[in-house]
Amino acid sequence: MANNDTLIIAGETYNSRLLVGSGKYKDLEETRLATEVSGAEIVTVAIRRSNIGQNPDEPNLLDAIPPNKYTILPNTAGCYTAEDAVRTCRLARELLDGHNLVKLEVLGDEKTLFPDITATLEAAETLVKDNFKVMVYTSDDPLIAKRLEEMGCVAVMPLAAPIGSGLGIRNPHNIRLIIENANVPILVDAGVGTASDAAIAMELGCDGVLMNTAIAAAKDPVLMASAMKKGIEAGREAFLAGRMPKKAYASASSPIDGMFL
């Protein structure tokens, strides 16, 4: 990997540009293994009601992905109003002893899980004022991405395709426009299906990719975690290297001089 090529989010430095979710695994052991193999340093988690009356000794997610080893990124998955999202972030901050990096997502529609942009803007404003460091899930609209940056979000995370769809980068042009205009990290969040999708996102110049289903729903999640790690690294190196220009016709790669025929 290129030397000193690190991802900086809210002043913290990370070596991995792959961020992973912790949902949809068959058990905590698979979560632990896939997370470890992915090389991710930031892991997103959901906040839910504790199961009252059930075995309180059942293993806890944060035993599998301990906060002293990973940066835990609580998300507001499942929130459909700005109020619920803000409430979830405040509970998460208490849960994680004051840790204030959060992933904000306010959803607008159950079928597409597209973000509700007006509610997202409203929640982002409240959270930034309340000293949260907000990484925000949004649509691939370059103007909204810029607005969220100007509001003080520490990273903007446009979707590449609907959450959990695995459709890949549907609008590379918009993602590129968002990146070109940004002064904060831009991470593709949602829509990646396989390693080449992750590489394409990175070749576009994204600072990172956040994914969950693409790894957890693979037939072999641990192996896919390894593939994603490599896809991210390959795409990043290709971006830094600068690809050759595309040409309409062939261009021989062996010299013509010295031909003996």
Partner: protein
């Protein structure tokens, strides 16, 4: 008294505090966060937080989830 705990009625002896509740639930040494009537109660203050009949209490923890597709 009866409080509304995570959306369900829950019986608790009178004069209980938030600390008594988490002990009763076996969650005293677990990483949880608590809201009483929409107000977050810091873990360090559970012992000073009296509960009263009808209080709406939410106790949450972290679970696996990525983007909204976590279920």
């Amino acid at each position: 008294m009866v409080i509304l705990l995570n959306g369900e009625d829950h019986v608790l002896s009178n004069d209980s505090t938030a600390a008594d509740l988490v002990i009763q639930l076996g969650l005293a040494d677990k990483r949880v966060a608590m809201e009483v009537n929409l107000e977050i109660i810091p873990r360090s203050r559970y012992g000073d937080q009296p509960l009263k009949d009808g209080d709406k209490v939410e106790i949450v923890h972290a679970i696996g989830g990525g983007s909204s597709d976590c279920y």
